[in-house]
């Protein structure tokens, strides 16, 4: 049913060559299946649910499987749907079940206890258990790079961050971003605001409007659908004043499309989380009897678990890309320890 990712497909091709494996895969996959349960966002949330589903589809293609036979998803409409959906997957004999999003943490934890013979994985959270793999992303590292890009791009010396809810998870994005900006130039002001929800485009637009009004020219959002309002406002400003440099940095997946306005695009870059890669990878590990049960897999900048995209190469210039690459290397080398919380950020800023 799902048309699959458009832009994300292109980016995901590099690591896992789909063509090569598919031939050999046929035989061994016959009795292995992998499924995922979305959170309330659904498999088309243009965010990690979608990305995860794309990864699973990719995995299915790799092993010549059909949706419903070998891989599938269950969509949750409500917080109370997580457990039944996970259960359904298990009871339909899926060998590997992913829970997408930290909201499924409790559900995965419970169901994994109940079904020790099934492998589970949770994305964006940590759940203990021998049959659970925890897939996390170094959001702060990716956000740090977004900060670096913003700092290199800003003309006004003011950038903004809009978060969904003021929670540990989103604080990670904020801390990384602020650190990145300040590392490049500590004079740049960063305005941080939380909309209080991931589905409030009106508030997103209001906040963006006020930020852009105050001469902020780049906003990094980590706020789900609230970000739609941010894009709406940026595009609106761009429309009335095509010469004004105004940018949004997308999150989770490449939000280039969201930024398109006429023949211009306000998406500077996006901090993508390669949930697709992770899902594909872990599925394969499980299939090959190499399931990392009990492990916490952190996908960071190193293994391209998080990173920036250069789809908008006009705006995301080579210099910026180079700067980002430099800092990426420094993170990999351990030269910078990117802060993940407000406290760590304070310490980090003091140390600059």
């Amino acid at each position: 049913a799902c048309g699959g990712g458009d832009s994300a497909d292109e980016d995901s091709s590099s690591d896992n060559g789909d063509a090569e494996k598919s031939e050999t895969a046929k035989g061994e996959t016959a009795d292995f299946s992998s499924g995922l349960v979305t959170d309330v966002g659904g498999v088309d949330d243009k965010s990690f649910n979608q990305s995860a589903w794309e990864g699973l589809q990719e995995w299915g293609k790799e092993h010549d499987l059909e949706k419903g036979e070998g891989f599938d998803y269950a969509q949750s409409n409500n917080d109370s749907d997580y457990e039944p959906n996970l259960n359904r997957m298990v009871r339909e004999d899926y060998n590997m079940v992913f829970g997408i999003g930290y909201k499924l943490e409790d559900a995965i934890s419970d169901v994994a206890d109940q079904y020790p013979d099934t492998n589970f994985a949770i994305v964006d959270s940590v759940v203990e258990g021998d049959n659970v793999a925890s897939i996390t992303f170094a959001d702060h590292e990716g956000s740090f790079l977004a900060g670096v890009a913003a700092a290199n791009k800003t003309n006004t010396g003011k950038v903004g961050f809009i978060g969904g809810t003021d929670s540990d998870l989103i604080n990670k994005f904020e801390a990384g971003f602020v650190a990145g900006v300040k590392t490049v130039d500590s004079d740049i002001e960063v305005d941080v605001q939380y909309a209080g929800a991931f589905d409030a485009p009106d508030d997103g637009k209001l906040i963006a409007s006020s930020m852009y009004n105050e001469d902020i020219d780049i906003i990094y959002h980590s706020s789900g659908a609230t970000g739609n309002g941010v894009f709406a406002q940026a595009k609106d400003i761009k429309n009335s004043d095509p010469d004004r440099d105004i940018w949004v940095i997308g999150v989770d997946r490449d939000q280039y499309d969201e930024g398109q306005i006429g023949d211009q695009n306000v998406t500077l870059t996006s901090m993508v989380k390669r949930v697709d890669n992770a899902v594909q990878q872990v599925s394969n590990m499980a299939m090959d009897d190499d399931f990392p049960g009990g492990d916490v897999l952190e996908f960071g900048v190193e293994d391209n678990g998080v990173g920036l995209v250069d789809t908008n190469d006009e705006a995301y210039t080579d210099e910026i890309a180079e700067a980002a690459a430099d800092w990426k290397q420094k993170i990999i080398d351990g030269d910078v320890d990117v802060p993940q919380t407000h406290d760590e950020l304070d310490d980090y800023l003091d140390s600059l």
Binding site: D199, L206, S209, S210, N228, A232, D236
Partner: protein, 319 residues
Amino acid sequence: MGFIDLLQSIIPPALFFSAPLIFTALGGVFSERSGVINIGLEGLMVMGAFVGVVFNLKFADMFGSWTPWISIIAAALIGGVFSLIHAVAAVSFRANQVVSGVAINFLALGLGVFLTKQWYGKGQTEMVSEQFFSRDIPVLADIPIIGKIFFQDIYLTSYLAIILAFIVWYILYKTSFGLRLRSVGEHPMAADTNGISVYKMRYTAVILSGVLGGLGGSVFALTIALNFSHATIVGQGFMSLAAVIFGKWHPLGAMGAALFFGFAQSLSVISGGIPVLEDIPQVFLLIAPYVLTILALAGFIGRAEAPKANGEPYIKGTR
């Protein structure tokens, strides 16, 4: 931040935030003035947002920059048709109007998402390519101070909403249609004996609420959300209902209330820079519209009195 600066940063956003509420609230005024309670405004907005976005996506190539305008007209029309369900229930089937309104809300969301999944294979649509854009109003924008507050970077839809409020006021209070409509909401049997068709008036009013709710929802979608999903309209319809009541069932009052809500919302976002407001937890500003409406109804902020026959099905020939 200076006071003028403050206004300049609060008012334009307040205006775009309020516009969908104004449209929808005006619809609510029509419906409730005719004696039909409309809890279904939320659902009507959902329908409007859905149609507006789908139409926009489908016909953007054909209509170019006119697309958003044509889309909201389409949304208004479909909204009107959709509201017929409420009209049939409330007027002809003598349903409990609150219950029927609740059904409308469920139905709109269910249908909207169902059809989205059918047509797009997923729970939310793409972003539209032809959204509404703000603009400066020629000449007026150049007026010092005021120009920047009211006429720069303004959505025409915001002005349309405000002008419409005055038009609705004129219709309700100056034309014979308005007199009849209000009489039907106050004392339907009196209207009936005067040869006014209560059913026709109420159908018209409810359909108008659908048209305006459709407008409100589509304007919201095409200025703010830019796509449609189950989470596009979350409470704006109920906030419009609050505006109807807070505005005492008067079109200008409803407009004022909607503007006030927009202002409060805008302020809550910008409050970071304002000394007094900075310390108020955001939640208070979030719940302000609802709490204020309660206070208004309780008579602590002027008494709000509903049209007398509001909520009562008219049964011809009862004694």
